[in-house]
Symmetry: C2
Subunit: 205 residues, 2 copies
Amino acid sequence: MTIADRKAREKEALRMLILNGAKKLFIEKGIEQITIRNIADEIDYSVGTVYVYFKDKNAILHDLHSIGFQELGGYFQELFSIEDPLDRLKKMGITYMKFALENQEMYDLMFNVKAPMESIESSEKEDWNEGTNAFGALKNTVAQCMENGHFSGHSLEPLSFIIWSLVHGMCCLEIRNRTKGVKFDNPDTILYDGYKEFLKILEKL
Amino acid sequence: MTIADRKAREKEALRMLILNGAKKLFIEKGIEQITIRNIADEIDYSVGTVYVYFKDKNAILHDLHSIGFQELGGYFQELFSIEDPLDRLKKMGITYMKFALENQEMYDLMFNVKAPMESIESSEKEDWNEGTNAFGALKNTVAQCMENGHFSGHSLEPLSFIIWSLVHGMCCLEIRNRTKGVKFDNPDTILYDGYKEFLKILEKL
DNA sequence: TCAAAAAAATGAACGTTGTTCAAAAAATAA
DNA sequence: TTATTTTTTGAACAACGTTCATTTTTTTGA
């Protein structure tokens, strides 16, 4: 019994060792440069061992993507103390963008890269719970805003969705190098200026 | 002289043959499945020949991405006849989304995939002219709206940017499988419902 | 304590990939 | 025709994800 317990702990430890090694390489060199051999080298195990613990590369990327959502949850902690839902909503966008820009590779993996979704499809897993929960947090805050009399004439879910889309779209264009190429008047602050414009619109709703 | 001319024409023809072959495979099987050997097989040439005409795979993807922008321009043709700029702006979003959803792989290549941007960086090319021009078309229409008295209190470029971001964000989430996973009330019409919500907001500005 | 059984870790091997480049084939020039 | 230039070729290379028979390590039972 205790041996089985220890074994289970060791398995879990090695599993995390692989994931942490993967994450380190991932952040240092980017998702494109990640290889199973690199990960194995990083943690001084053979490639075969990695495949004992993970079905394939997609499975590793899916678990890293889940870790990303935990980290996003950490960023969101500071929002809980904000009583007024509209204030919280405004701050939520800032926090979301902050996370995206400070953890570009992670954000990309969570919301852009196809691999984690393919891992969900090919397993017996239900839906994309990480995404559903994160969107739920946004939706709750928007719902509270509506209870307070804001956004009258609008529908909860579509409104929440386009708010998500707007912020995601900005992060996405930035991370995938579509803002650096376009000749903006103020290329360095276009995300910030854009979000300010969004806040102005929120005030009118 | 005439021989040199014919040779130049033949070179251009083979170049287009490669690009068209690439595009066919691209649309049929998706960007992930595209390989140089596949392209070469498709057009009955050897891999070596492909590398005579294109520096590397990124160069092929970049040229395909440019073709995508030409095709987007085709979709935008129908907008020119719309006199009222606000009507045109509203329709522009629909047209943009239509293009994105009917040409998902192409849209992905144009606005998400990193390869075409890497090709721009590694060449002596200036900026991302395709993107700058497309954004310019949006900006012009928004500017005309403002001339007609809409969007008072807002700034042209940030406002245009968040409109682009909003629509791009929706397309992006859809194409990268982030809408199918989330438990929406109406999963099948969330993009449509979202855009309707956006139009309601536009009316208030 | 020690042989047998079970579990864990290994790395060579397979089929792909993008890319290169000496050699072969074809077209042009003299 | 023969020499020269241009075009095309495909074998070869290093690196990739993945598999699995073999080896190493750990646990078991007397």
